[in-house]
């Protein structure tokens, strides 16, 4: 059961977060943080297909995470997030076409090793 929850979390989180980034990229930089402007931004985003899909995917991941917390300790649930990390950095390069510099790869690598050490 645990591995099914983990598979759902990893897939849903990766898909959700990459689509979130795509949707926000399409929307453009949020510059105005006054309440009325933020309200207008939310109304625009609520019609953004990528944002809707990403919230749906993250809701799936959230309920699977709730289920995982009941059967696994937090220190086991954490490395799962590190797996999405590697997948998302790869997708950032190939799907979002970001320039993932050597420094960013190095940073991501350090973080993954560190998270593994913290959680194992």
């Amino acid at each position: 059961m645990t591995s099914i929850y983990i598979a759902i979390i990893v897939l849903a989180t990766t898909v959700g977060e990459v689509m979130q980034a795509m949707g926000m990229r399409r929307h453009g930089e949020i510059r105005d943080f006054r309440p009325t402007a933020l309200g207008r931004a939310v109304a625009t985003l609520a019609r953004n297909r990528f944002v809707i899909a990403s919230v749906a995917a993250m809701a799936v991941s959230f309920f699977a995470y709730m289920a995982l917390l009941t059967v696994a300790p937090l220190s086991f649930a954490v490395p799962v997030t590190a797996v999405t990390y590697v997948l998302e950095t790869i997708l950032a390069k190939y799907i979002l076409k970001e320039r993932v510099t050597r420094l960013r790869w190095a940073g991501a690598g350090l973080v993954v090793c560190g998270v593994a050490l913290i959680s194992l």
Binding site: M24, E29, I30, R31, L103, G107, G114, A116
Partner: protein, 136 residues
Amino acid sequence: MTAEAARLRIKTWICATVVVLANVFGNFFMKRGMPADLPTPLSYITALFRPWVTLGVALLILWLVSRMAMLSWADLSYVLPVTSIGYVLVALMGKVFLHEQIGVKRWSGILLVVAGVALVSAATPPQTDHGVEHGA
């Protein structure tokens, strides 16, 4: 461009702080309030109304929204490592509030995460090639 870069960097730092704190406290309160098991689909819903879980969920919604705002101008490959300082804060909260032991292995892991975060946040700009001119 330097003024623009500085503006973007300050804005990114403020937003990253909100993202990290909302995530860390959200997860901490969720874990604190979760029941021992969730036998039926309905129990997932009722669990959401336990006070600590509700507070945790509210913070996780703030996390989602602030992360979306940050992704509207910053690269995903920048946001990921920079916000991962949260892992370190969770470990430190476990030590301070739950009196968990942090051994040599965990401290070295914490050090690696901090090094990764410092490297990406200090040495690379939040945004690489796409323009910033299109407004919200």
